[in-house]
């Protein structure tokens, strides 16, 4: 059998973003990394725009909050899938662990939200670290199957452990105290959106820093060529383990935020559908781009909200067609397509 990685088009062609930044290549590596991490005006505009729902769509704030959580979850998948090249079909496992950890913590210990986030992140990171030893050993189909299997295993475990998780009825009795002792989680979702957005922004800053660090660069190197990276002194498996643990922690935080803002946890948090949805969001926006998961989550969630209003059972039709179109026409997602367009336009 021909080894597959050698044939991949994406292995040979650099992403447009890398190619563009190399065009004006500064000689020093530190200079190169620094030039990547400078803030673009569009980025600032994007984050300012996230405040708009408070004024423009005050009735849609709970949806906005869910979008922020989905964006956070997609960001965590981006680290392992987009940057390190690990395809996971079971990423919801860490989302669910975070959600149940935060829910149970508020039920049995106390309801202060930030400590709940930390506990959830720590739990997800711990499980992520333990499973990362398995993940780092495998590639390709076996890896996809193992991530899928571990995710399903955990969902079944949570289903059978009804005494702890509430089983298919969902976890009841989650009580979250007001944020800073003042902002209550209310029905309108004002606090919920503010809280989710703040968490998303802080985590995003950390991920942005991580991706533009030498560590982030070596992750991209591993994605492009798994076997050559150890030759330049970056141990692929050790890097994969670190990236996987970090991604698990962030997914745990995303799960914790949804548990805290909705004050309930259902088995759906661990389901295969959630793993598939987040994959779709990321690929739709553009994997391997910081804003890919964010843009994908916005489009996906708004589209689902609108479609489901018309005919919920046919939502799958839309998402299926969307997936086929993205794979066939926009191999690097919407942001990849836009980058190509602007690159072509600026050359003229």
């Amino acid at each position: 059998m021909i080894p597959k990685s050698g044939n991949r088009l994406s292995d040979k062609i650099m992403r447009p973003q890398d190619a563009m930044s190399l065009a004006g290549a500064p000689s020093q590596p530190q200079e190169y990394l620094r030039s990547l991490s400078r803030w673009h005006p569009l980025e600032i505009a994007f984050w300012l725009a996230t405040l708009l729902p408070f004024f423009l769509f005050p009735t849609y704030l709970s949806l906005a909050s869910q979008i922020a959580v989905a964006a956070l979850f997609a960001l965590s998948l981006d680290i392992i899938l987009g940057y390190a090249g690990i395809v996971s079909l079971g990423h919801a496992a860490f989302f669910g662990i975070g959600a149940y950890a935060a829910g149970l913590f508020s039920k049995f210990v106390w309801g202060e939200p930030f400590s709940g986030l930390l506990i959830a992140a720590a739990m997800a990171a711990l499980i992520g670290y333990l499973t990362s030893f398995i993940i780092a050993r495998f590639r390709h189909l076996t890896l996809i199957m193992i991530t899928l299997g571990l995710g399903l295993l955990l969902a079944e475990a949570a289903n059978s452990a009804g005494w702890l998780t509430g089983g298919s009825d969902g976890l009841q009795g989650v009580k979250i105290w007001p944020v800073f002792g003042y902002f209550k989680f209310d029905l309108y979702g004002t606090t919920a959106y503010g809280y989710s957005l703040a968490v998303l922004f802080l985590v995003f800053l950390a991920v942005r820093r991580l991706i533009h660090s030498p560590f982030g660069l070596s992750l991209r190197g591993i994605r492009e060529n798994w076997t050559r990276m150890p030759a330049v002194g970056a141990d692929s498996r050790a890097h994969i383990r670190k990236a996987y643990t970090i991604a698990a922690a962030i997914a745990g935080i995303a799960g914790a935020v949804i548990a805290q803002t909705t004050q309930t946890v259902s088995l759906e948090a661990l389901s295969f559908e959630r793993s598939a949805d987040v994959l779709v969001m990321l690929v739709l926006g553009g994997a391997g781009r910081l804003y890919g998961g964010l843009v994908g989550a916005i489009i996906f969630m708004v589209a689902r909200d609108q479609f489901s209003g018309i005919a919920p059972q046919y939502w799958y039709f839309g998402i299926g067609i969307l997936l086929i179109l993205v794979v066939m026409l926009l191999p690097n997602g919407i942001l990849g397509g836009l980058a190509k367009l602007t690159a072509r336009w600026s050359r003229k």
């Binding site: 039709f317 299926g320 969307l322 794979v327």
Partner: protein, 287 residues
């Protein structure tokens, strides 16, 4: 009272045969072209719905509808293979996964649109509904029939692969695609036929599965997991491996449901992860 071990074994093997029919096509597809086809069970579902429509709308007998289910799934798969799949043979695993998940999603919605989300009823012929006792063991006629079909299909498949010219071409292409095309074998053509055959078998499996597990639009995803488990445990491109893995998973699933129902599907997922960690290429895989 615990049911007798032999009864569990028999039901497990009958269920395993069903899973074997559903999964053997995917095993060949993956082994031959390394193409991750997550829409495989959508073709099985198509076979199931063809049988249901023929029986309920046109009042065809059950057995007459089976070949049509096979042909419909095979024909549909060729259309998809020629228009979409072939463009992605050289693409990454991720792209293949996404495209085929997309197709599976669409199939779920289309099935829900035409047939509704409820379980489809079928009327089995009366001689298929009964059961009889052999040495104190109660054997359902339909399950015995399933085992028969499974064994016949296995023999025919292995015979085709081992003793015909086409089979030799398929084996050569699985072993070394470049060398095979260098020897003048039209790999693409061989693959299209193998792909149609595999999807047709899935369609047949989908039609036969209605009586045992029912049929609703979620079939494309519910059984996908089982199929993937069997393929990865059995080893890619290995028919004997799929057969053994299907029996293993079928028996573990039925035994698990009889003896430790509270574990649910936990057992088979555990079997899969354990086997893959022990032998990443599957039980009978060669890589």
């Amino acid at each position: 009272m615990l049911p007798p071990v032999l009864g569990v074994l028999f039901d497990g093997i009958a269920y395993g045969m069903l899973l074997f029919l559903l999964s053997v096509g995917l095993s060949v597809t993956l082994g031959l072209m390394n193409f991750v086809n997550l829409a495989h069970c959508a073709f099985a579902m198509l076979g199931g719905y063809v049988t249901v429509s023929l029986m309920n709308e046109l009042h065809w007998p059950f057995f007459a509808s089976l070949p049509v289910a096979f042909l419909a799934a095979a024909a549909a798969s060729v259309v998809f293979e020629r228009t979409l799949y072939r463009r992605l043979y050289r693409a990454s695993d991720l792209d293949q996964v996404l495209l085929t998940i997309g197709i599976a999603f669409v199939s779920v919605a289309v099935a829900a649109y035409f047939f509704g989300t409820t379980q489809q009823p079928v009327d089995m012929p009366s001689y298929m509904r009964g059961s009889f006792d052999v040495l104190g063991l109660n054997i359902a006629a339909y399950r015995l029939f399933l085992v028969g079909v499974g064994v016949v299909v296995t023999i025919v498949l292995i015979g085709t692969l081992e003793y015909t010219r086409f089979g030799a071409q398929v084996r050569a292409a699985v072993d070394n695609q470049r060398m095979a095309s260098g020897l003048g074998i039209n790999v693409e053509h061989t693959f299209a036929i193998a792909f149609a055959l595999g999807s047709g078998l899935a369609g047949l499996g989908g039609a036969l599965a209605i009586e045992i597990v029912g049929l609703d639009p979620n079939f494309a995803f519910t059984y996908l997991v089982y199929v993937l488990i069997i393929v990865s445990v059995g080893g890619l491109g290995s028919i004997g491996g799929s057969f053994a893995a299907a029996c293993l998973i079928g028996i573990s699933d039925i035994a698990g449901k009889y003896y430790v129902p509270e574990l649910g599907a936990f057992l088979i997922y555990l079997v899969m992860v354990a086997v893959l960690m022990w032998r990443p290429a599957g039980l009978f895989g060669r890589r």
